[in-house]
Chain length 381, copies 2
C-alpha cells in the first residue's frame, strides 16, 4: 500500500523527484504539505476547495484533537478522511511540537500554539509559565483552552494518531526544550530515543506509516547520533525537526549536514519551512517533503504569492487592478476574480477575501513546486 | 425584460404565488431574499455556494459601497453581477436605512450598521451622537468607518444604485427617525414624497426597476397617505418599511392594514422579516418578497434552522450526533457532513462551520418557502 520511489536525481545537487504511494493516492515529490491544523485549512476552505486548489496532501495537528478530546470520536467515525470528507493523503504530527511550544519552545520562536484560537491574543510567554513539565513517562501540560492537565506519552500519541487514522504519523519527540545546553540536549535526545522505542512498540496499524524526527538541536554530533539511531528504526520516513539556528545560512548548514546522513531510500521531510526563497534551496539539499503554515496564514491577512514575490493585496494601488493576482495565474480564484476584487473584499473585511487568497496561494505554491519537479526531471535544476 | 405575474391566489387568505421576471432570471414568489451586505453573503460564501444552496436572489446594501467609495469602481466593471460573479437577480436598498440607523433609528432597534464591521463592538447609541442630520436636500452623516462627512441625496442614491446595476433599486426614504411624534412623522413623510419625485426624475435605467417604500410609522392615516401616493408613482414594486410596532401582534396588524392598500398588480415586499414563525403569517397577508439577515447571521453563531425549529449546534448533546442537521435534509452541507461535524468545527472555532451552516440555513429556508408556494398552488394553504 505504501512505497517511496525516486525517479530521477539531479547531477548538480541532491535534488530528486519521486513518488510517494499511499492508500489515498500518490504524492509527487518534492511536495509541499499545507497545514490543516484542525483537519481543515483555515479560512473556511472545504475539501472541494482543496481539490480545486490542486493540493496533494495535508498535515493536521494531533495536539488540537487531544485538547478538544476528539480523537476517539474522530476514530469511531472512520478517521480524519471520513470526518472531514478528504480524499488526499494526510499526515498527523505527534502533538509534541505544540506541547513543547507551550513551554520553553516559544522563547526561541518555535511555533505559537495560542495563535490558532481566533479572538485570543497570543501571549504564550506569560501563559506558558509552568504549563509544561517533562517526565520519563511523557510530558504533562495544561490545556491552553480550558486549563485541564493532560499527559502526552509516546503511547498516547501513538493511540491518538491511530484514531485519527492519517496515512502518516510521527514519533513523539522532545523538541525545542533546550537550545544552548549540550548536556540537557543530550539528555533530551536519549530520552527521545527511548520514547521512539516505546511508541513503535504500541503502534499497530497497517494503514498508517510512521516518520521519525531528527533531534539534536545545533550540535552536529548529537544530530549525527539522532540520525544514526533513526536509520536503524523501522520508520517509513525521516523528518528534520528542532532548532535550526538563528540565520538562514546556519539553517541550510544544519539541514545539509543532517540530510546527507539520512537513509536516502526513505523520504526526507523538513518540518516547518515553506517560503518561496527557501523552497528551491532545501530541495537542492535533497528534501522531499516540507510543510508550512505560512502560505495559508499570510493569505488570511492579505499577502499573495505571485511570480514577482509577495504582495499585500490590501494596498491602495490595487484598487483598480483588474488583472489576475499573479500574472497568467489560472487558479480557481484568478479564473473568476481580479486582484481588485480580492482587494475590495479585504478592505470590506469580508472573510471571502481570505478564502479566495488562500486558494490562490495554495495553487501558486503547487505550481511553483511542480515547476521545480519538472526541471529536476529534465535535468535542468 | 421585467414582469410580475400572479399565477394563483389562496381562497382563505391573501396568499398568492407568482413569477417575477428579471434580466437575471425568474424569482418564484413568495420569495425569501437573503442579505448579501457587501455583495457577498457573510461567512466566506462565494457565488458557487449560493447556487448550490438554491438561493433565488439577494439584497445588497448600497450604504457600504458608498462608505467604501466603491460604487463608481463597481459600475465601471459592469456592476455587482460582474464584480461578484453573480448570476441571480440582485436588489439594492437605497442606503437610507443604514444612514438613519446611525441616528435615532437605533434607539428603536431599527438596524445596527456597526455590527457589519467585524472586530468592532456595536455601540451605536454612543457613536451615533450627532452622526446624522436631515436636510431638505438629503441626509448628512459621518462614515462609521473613517469619520468623513457624506451627503446622501435622492439623486446620489439613484446614481449609486445605477452604478451598482442591480435588477431592483429602492427609492430613498426617511425611515425610523421618529416613532411617537405624529407631526414629525408627517413632516418626514411629506419630505420623503418629495425625495421620491426627485429620485425618479434622475433614475434613468432600462435594466433596473424601482421599488417604493411605504412609510408613516405607527399612524394608520399616514401609512394610508404613503401607500396612496406610492400607488400613483411609476414604481415596479412597493415595500413596507419603517417602524412596525413593538409586538408581533401590532406588527401583523400594521402589515395587514398597509398591504391591503398596496396595488395588487405589483409585488409587495416586506423589509427585514425572515424568521420561521413570521414567514407563513406574512405570506397569508399577501407579502410576495421578504428579506432578512437573521438566517445567515445566526448561522455564523451556530444556530441551525431545522424541521423542529432552531437549534444551537454548539451544544454538547450534538457531539456524537452523526445525523443530518435537520431530518432528511439534502442541502450541500448535510449531504456531506453530519451535525456532529459541524458541532466540532464550531467548538474548534473553525470558520468553515459558519460557512457550512449558512449554506444549510439558506437551503432550508428556500425549501420551507418552496413548500408554502406548493401549498398555495394546490389551494391547501
Amino acid at each position: 500500500m505504501f512505497s517511496f520511489e525516486v525517479q530521477k536525481k539531479s547531477k548538480k545537487s541532491k535534488a530528486r523527484v519521486g513518488t510517494l504511494k499511499t492508500p489515498h493516492g500518490v504524492i509527487k515529490t518534492p511536495a509541499f504539505i499545507p497545514v490543516a491544523t484542525l483537519g481543515v485549512i483555515k479560512g473556511a476552505l472545504d475539501s472541494d476547495d482543496l481539490k480545486s486548489a490542486g493540493v496533494q496532501c495535508q498535515i493536521t495537528n494531533t495536539f488540537h484533537f487531544i485538547d478538544l478530546d476528539a480523537t476517539a470520536r474522530v476514530g469511531k467515525q472512520g478517521g480524519l478522511h471520513k470526518f472531514f470528507n478528504i480524499e488526499h493523503p494526510i499526515f498527523t504530527d505527534s502533538g509534541g511540537f505544540q506541547v513543547f511550544s507551550l513551554g520553553k519552545g516559544t522563547a526561541f520562536g518555535i511555533g505559537k500554539v495560542g495563535s490558532i484560537f481566533p479572538g485570543e491574543k497570543s501571549d504564550l510567554k506569560q501563559r506558558s509559565q509552568g504549563l509544561v513539565k517533562i517526565f520519563e513517562e511523557g510530558v504533562r501540560f495544561r490545556s491552553p483552552r480550558d486549563g485541564r492537565e493532560i499527559m502526552l506519552t509516546p503511547e498516547s500519541s501513538a493511540k491518538a494518531q491511530m484514531q485519527l487514522g492519517a496515512d502518516f504519523a510521527y514519533l513523539l519527540d522532545i523538541c525545542g526544550a533546550v537550545v544552548d545546553d549540550k548536556n540537557a540536549s543530550l539528555r533530551d535526545l536519549e530520552r527521545t530515543n527511548r520514547w521512539y522505542e516505546r511508541y513503535l512498540k504500541v503502534h499497530k496499524s497497517k494503514k498508517q506509516k510512521t516518520f521519525g524526527i531528527v533531534q539534536g538541536g545545533l550540535f552536529k554530533d548529537l544530530r549525527q547520533k539522532s540520525v544514526e539511531s533513526l536509520n536503524e528504526l523501522p520508520v517509513f520516513g525521516i523528518a528534520i525537526g528542532g532548532a535550526l539556528g538563528k540565520s538562514q545560512r546556519e539553517m541550510f548548514k544544519i539541514i545539509s549536514f543532517v540530510n546527507e546522513k539520512i537513509d536516502w531510500g526513505r523520504p526526507h521531510h523538513l518540518l516547518g519551512i515553506g517560503d518561496l526563497k527557501s523552497i528551491p534551496e532545501i530541495i537542492k539539499l535533497g528534501i522531499d517533503l516540507f510543510d508550512c503554515a505560512l502560505p495559508t496564514r499570510v493569505a488570511r491577512h492579505g499577502t499573495a504569492f505571485t511570480s514577482r514575490g509577495y504582495i499585500d493585496v490590501k494596498r491602495g494601488v490595487y484598487k483598480n487592478a483588474f488583472r489576475p493576482i499573479s500574472a497568467a495565474c489560472a487558479c480557481p480564484t484568478c479564473r473568476v476574480y481580479a486582484l481588485a476584487h480580492v482587494h475590495f473584499l479585504f478592505k470590506a473585511k469580508e472573510p471571502l477575501g481570505g478564502r479566495l487568497l488562500t486558494i490562490h496561494n495554495l495553487w501558486f505554491l503547487e505550481k511553483y513546486v511542480e515547476g521545480i519537479r519538472r526541471k529536476i526531471a529534465l535535468g535542468k535544476f
